[in-house]
């Protein structure tokens, strides 16, 4: 999932200050799962903003709340078209994709990001999320026992560990596993150490220049796409 972190309330306050009527818009997918931008957080944030404002003696803003199933899909944005007409700004708690889809869909509306989009990752345990994928566009997990060196090695190197690894941890932090030690151990367990002995040439960064686009094959379009 896409992992995000809510911006500090005072940062959000400064961002919304110029606008009177603000819609706080949650998103029902990734950001709901990582407890940063779902229905519950929308409600908490509204209370926090109102409380902060009341404490400062003012009540200049009016906040409304909505949460969509997905902000990154224009089909769902149409559902709030009516409400958006009466407001000055949308404070989106979706990832950067949601914020930009809103901006594209409502060309005259100010859209503000209420969260920082952090990474693609997984919930490691309750309240802890770890990055797992860089979306590099050239997956090589088959070669590295399902552990991504591009994401999990701080240097993203492809031919084994650097000399900075100590106690199986990274030179950057004694809390962080060395990806290449993990890869070595798992390849050994799978009897596939030959994969580590291979030389891997430098990465091809051509799939990377941004922004990227994927165009579906004609057969995909013919069956009407996959819009469940």
């Amino acid at each position: 999932m896409i992992v995000v972190e809510q911006k500090p309330v005072d940062t959000i306050q400064r961002m919304v200050a110029p606008y009177n009527k603000v819609m706080i818009l949650g998103c029902g997918t990734c950001v709901t799962v990582c407890n940063a931008g779902g229905e519950r957080e929308v409600s908490f944030l509204r209370e926090a903003l109102q409380f902060a404002e009341a404490k400062n003696g003012g009540r200049d803003h009016s906040f409304t709340e909505h949460t969509l199933k997905r902000q990154c899909d224009e089909e769902f944005l149409e559902l709030i078209a009516e409400q958006v007409r009466g407001i000055d700004a949308i404070l989106s708690l979706a990832c950067g994709i949601g914020v930009q889809t809103l901006a594209e869909h409502f060309p005259d509306m100010v859209v503000l990001p209420g969260v920082n989009t952090s990474f693609l990752g997984m919930a490691k345990e309750w309240g802890i999320w770890d990055e797992r994928c860089t979306a590099c566009g050239d997956c090589r997990l088959e070669e590295t026992a399902g552990i991504c060196p591009i994401t999990r090695c701080t240097k993203g190197i492809l031919n084994g560990p650097c000399a900075g690894t100590k106690n199986g941890k990274c030179e950057v932090s004694p809390e962080m596993d060395c990806a290449w030690i993990l890869i070595y151990q798992r390849l050994e367990r799978l009897g596939q150490l030959d994969k580590m002995r291979r030389y891997y040439p430098p990465r091809n960064f051509r799939p990377i220049p941004r922004p990227r686009r994927i165009v579906a094959s004609p057969s995909f379009t013919a069956v009407g796409g996959n819009h469940d």
Binding site: T154, K155, G156, I157, L158, N159, G160, P161, C162, A163, G164, T165, K166, N167, G168, C170, E171, V172, S173, C178, W180, I181, Y184, L193, M196, R197, Y199, P201, P202, R203, F205
Partner: protein
């Protein structure tokens, strides 16, 4: 024909001595020049570090040119942290054109450990890939396969960590560096010989020269700090304890004693092909160490 004076020595049976100098942060190069003058006739080659520990400094290539101008033999330390393939190749072409023909190919420390932790780390390639890229340049092609107008030639080295706590993955990397074209290795700091002997038993099957890295510690505090904060350094407790026995202000003397003992043991037992002395800021004491360890003035 050999590619450099240092390669000529590598090909001989001489016990090799290299050391390193760290360029300053700023344009006052007087101390660097002083160290070069002091060392150039005492060692077989002088490495110039490349923003060591990810601390921004005067460039390695600049230091190498200073050595060259003074008639010394430089080894250009080149890390992959700050330059992509285009910039690395350009610097290599320039280095060759100025007679800097020895290169130590390193991945480089993470930017997080240095004094510019907010910069973009590059790591477009890493050590093994850089080695291969250097060999490709020598074949008259650049990394994208285009023809070069005049191909450079380099004597190329790399680094290895014989006392790493997970040694097997390091050895796999070592073999990749050998296959990628490394002719010599300057090891990370060696502080005990048991693991180094084991490493040499394994490494002697490869046609490469190994120079044992000897770090001169200035105090027990420095050793503890390096253990904690410097990537690739593991100082054993016994060494820290020995440093701690030094009287106040005599830490460096104790560090020299330990280094000299280490070098003697390596040379007398014929453990490897030479040594690489890292004095980390105390470059001035290197001649003294060499003299004490080898009991003769080193002729180059």
């Amino acid at each position: 024909m050999t590619k450099s004076l240092f390669e000529e020595k590598l090909n001989s049976s001489k016990f090799l001595i290299t050391t390193e100098v760290g360029p300053p942060k700023g344009v006052d190069i007087s101390e660097l020049e002083h160290h070069i003058e002091l060392l150039k006739d005492k060692v077989d080659a002088i490495n110039v570090t490349d923003h060591q520990s990810s601390i921004m400094r005067y460039p390695s290539l600049g230091g190498c040119l200073l050595i060259k101008e003074r008639g010394g033999e430089p080894i250009l330390q080149m890390t992959c942290r700050d330059r992509n393939r285009m910039a690395l190749q350009a610097d290599l072409l320039f280095a060759h054109s100025r007679g800097v023909n020895n290169v130590l190919a390193l991945t480089g420390d993470s930017v997080d450990v240095g004094d510019h932790p907010e910069v973009k780390p590059v790591f477009d390639v890493e050590s093994a890939q850089l080695l291969k890229m250097i060999r490709t340049l020598e074949s008259g092609k650049d990394a994208a396969g285009n023809d070069l107008k005049g191909a450079p030639q380099f004597c190329v080295g790399a680094s290895v960590h014989p006392s790493a706590d997970f040694i097997e993955p390091q050895l796999i990397k070592f073999e990749k560096k050998v296959a990628a074209g490394a002719q010599f290795f300057q090891t990370q700091g060696i502080f005990e010989l048991a693991s180094f002997r084991r490493f040499m038993q394994y490494a002697s099957q490869f046609d490469v020269k190994i120079l044992a890295g000897v770090i001169v510690m200035a105090s027990a505090g420095m050793a503890r700090y390096m253990n904690k904060s410097v990537p690739g350094i593991i100082v054993p407790k016994e060494v820290i304890d020995e440093l701690a026995t030094a009287e106040k202000g005599k830490g460096l003397q104790k560090g020299i004693e330990i280094a000299v003992r280490m070098i003697r043991e390596i040379k007398e037992n014929n453990l490897c092909d030479g040594i690489h002395i890292m004095a980390v800021g105390n470059e001035g004491i290197v001649p003294e160490i060499i003299e004490a360890a080898l009991m003769e003035k080193v002729q180059t």
